[in-house]
Amino acid sequence: MATSSAMLDRNAAPPSTFELHVTGQVESGSFAGDDNLYCNILVHHGIDWQVVAGMEEGVTQVASISPGSDSRVVWNFPLELTFKSTNVYGWPQIVLTVHGTDFLNRDVIRGYGSVHIPVVPGAHEVEVPMFRPLSVGRLPRAMAQMLTCLPQSSLLQQFIGWIHATPAGSARDVLHSCPSYVTAVVVEYIDPKRPALPTGREVTRVRTSGTVVLKLNVVVRNMKQLGYSIPVSSNLKVYQ
């Protein structure tokens, strides 16, 4: 590898770029009541960043909850990425999209999430909160309002949820009041990198759907030589 030979050459010119090396795994996910899940992994970074080695996209296997355990699916999917950049802005993010299948074997979104790769070198366990966008369409909402006026409409509601590919089952959905149960139409982002972008969020309504656990090891190279002061301790400081 070119980088390793450069590392040995002590008389090399001062570096013009720094590197970020990440290894780790997408370990597991917990989505209350949801089963048979797979996770799509994408990397989003700024224009000054370049992926030198590793895959920018990955898809895990379909994982199920093992009988008798908690609601955790294990993917244990490996990640290895090396980035090169001249600028901290656009620090890479890992974008996760979790899909599941409903009882008709249709592909439905179970959650979106994104997280910046930790800035601090070292080992990290990152818990990514996942959310699912909700439909803001007028029709489902009007329908919901109409339905809540009807007594004993739960069968009908279930039928509409079924048409909208909202499987009955998630405990969170049932705990929620009727309108949201009906309006929980599965909608997807057109741009899969949307969870990593700050723009356009004000028009979306989401609901928390679960968490995904990542284990990441981060190595940073040449940042100090370029004049950056980066944190070296990995303990999170809490200020209140």
Binding site: R201, R207, Q240
Partner: protein
């Protein structure tokens, strides 16, 4: 000329009494003064609004909103301040105020979990109390600069509200070249 990078996220809101929250945020530098400007935003967004997290009352509300800012500065004065307004949205799309809060971006490199305590103005009269109770229409600030300004707070009476959690990392460039010293945990 030194540079400051802020990378992280507006993670979540906790301990709010209201359901379905959104957070409108922005970062102020130079104390909001246009004259004597020492901080420049080179890249990134310094303001924005999160999505609405439709969550039941009492549960933490997850925004997971990415932050990535790049500032250049010639002075330490006017250090960036993050401030936010948390609003609760009901099923008809009406927003009502849940809290105001602000915090400084930490000034040394590190990874931080910042908990921004928020407050909201108290209803001034009995009638406002009643309307706040039934309609959730809490009084709002006319001028939202008061969230982070030092002046004019003494006439305000407020309630405590929830906490906004930020998880951010601060990276600086060229500060040590100008003689700035950090504690031993950062290099």
């Amino acid at each position: 000329m030194a540079e400051v990078h802020v990378v992280g996220s507006i993670a979540q809101g906790e301990d709010f009494d209201e359901p379905s929250l959104l957070c409108k945020w922005s970062i102020v530098t130079d104390d909001g003064r246009a004259d004597n400007k020492r901080w420049t935003l080179l890249e990134g967004f310094a303001s924005g609004q999160t999505q609405v997290d439709v969550m039941p009352r009492g549960e933490p509300c997850v925004w997971s909103y990415p932050l990535d800012l790049h500032y250049s500065t010639t002075a330490l004065q006017g250090w960036p301040k993050f401030h936010c307004e948390v609003w609760s949205q009901d099923s008809h799309g009406r927003n009502s105020l849940a809290g105001y809060g602000f915090c400084y971006i930490p000034s040394s490199p590190g990874t931080y979990e910042l908990k921004v305590c928020t407050w909201r103005p108290k209803p001034q009269s009995w009638l406002e109390y009643v309307s706040a109770f039934f309609l959730g229409a809490y009084p709002q600030l006319k001028d939202s600069d008061l969230i982070w300004r030092q002046d004019d707070r003494y006439r305000l009476s407020t309630f405590a509200s929830g906490v906004v959690v930020l998880r951010i990392s601060v990276i600086t460039l060229g500060f040590e070249k100008h003689g700035i010293q950090y504690s031993s945990t950062s290099s």
